[in-house]
């Protein structure tokens, strides 16, 4: 099988907040499978700010879950402008899961909210968090044909979700996913 139609959802400049959906994808199509290939975070805060830790999950909801609460839509970008348009995919941030079952929490990471000033002395964690390879938080199945990526069937949803009451920092969150026929 050759490369499958692939998309990137980039949610830029997200500020964490208590129990906030930072980035997510919902599949509303019975004819398509969405597979989450990789999820990454990049520190985008470059102005001095309080440095506290937020706690980010990769969460999966299933069994006819609805993405309610008025999520803010962000349009995913096709890796190839020749890709067929996505069918009934909701992507963006905010809102909440309604109904269904879950969450299944696949991954959690403690993420700093401090600025990446990248001073000329010792590197800080916030500086490390600007490097793309170090911010990949979820990638089952990527580069390994023996592993399954996370599958979103019809009526399933995945989030990057922040739990604690943290209101500082800026981060870009990216989700790389493929769109295939069932």
């Amino acid at each position: 099988m050759g490369a499958v139609n692939t998309w990137t959802l980039l949610v830029p400049d997200m500020i964490p907040a208590v129990t906030k959906v930072m980035a997510g994808i919902h599949n509303g199509s019975a004819a398509r499978n969405i597979r989450i290939r990789r999820v990454g975070i990049i520190n985008a805060q470059i102005v001095l700010v309080s440095n506290v830790a937020c706690l980010l999950d990769v969460r999966h909801y299933y069994n006819a879950v609805v993405w309610g609460g008025g999520p803010t839509a962000v349009t995913p970008i096709a890796h190839d402008t020749g890709n067929v348009a996505l069918d009934t995919v909701t992507a963006g941030y905010g809102g909440a899961a309604v109904g269904g079952l879950g969450p299944n929490i696949f991954r959690r990471t403690c993420w700093p909210t401090g600025e990446a000033l990248k001073g000329i002395t010792a590197v800080r964690e916030a500086d490390w968090c600007t490097m793309v390879p170090l911010g990949i938080m979820f990638d089952p199945g990527y580069a390994d044909a023996n592993e399954q990526p996370l599958l979103l069937k019809n009526g399933e949803l995945m989030f990057v979700y922040n739990t604690p009451n943290v209101a500082f920092g800026l981060m870009d969150i990216w989700i790389e996913f493929t769109d295939e026929a069932v």
Binding site: L10, I42, H79, I120, D127, Y142
Partner: protein, 180 residues
Amino acid sequence: MSINMWTLNITGHLLTSASIVAGILNRDYTNSHVFRIWRVGLINAQTGGGISTSAISIQLERYVGASWRNPTVIGPISVDTKDTDTSALISGHGGTRVDGTQSVFRRITWFSTCASHSSTPYAAAKDWETFIPLGILWDSGFNDANVQPLTVRPGEMYDLYQTTAGQIVDAWIEFTDETS
């Protein structure tokens, strides 16, 4: 079966405000060439001292239907010297992009002051940015045949674009040239 592969290697690009750090434009309107971008990376190339420090923003973006005026043309390098035809693309840095529809795939913060590689126990972020693996900012499809790389169709341009001024950086784009 491997496909004709090239590397665009931009060395010593001075990060002036709002400039194209590295770019590829597919200008083949015979539909005989489709380029696929497999990896994109940055490397801190500033070695001189006394350079002011700042965090700058660089983004990987696509423009559909854009033209590229007055770039500094840098030819890509083939990994196999039998591959010589680069007439289907414009590659390089600088210049001005005109018109087109933008999509931003990734944004990063980059620190462009001199990599001192000092003997003190602590490395700063600018020193870590000299390590090639840490500077890879895009690699979709690399090592995974299920994932599409970025596809550069005729009339499309992909570039690394900085939005704030900094110092000197090397940038590289690894891509293949295919017929469809």
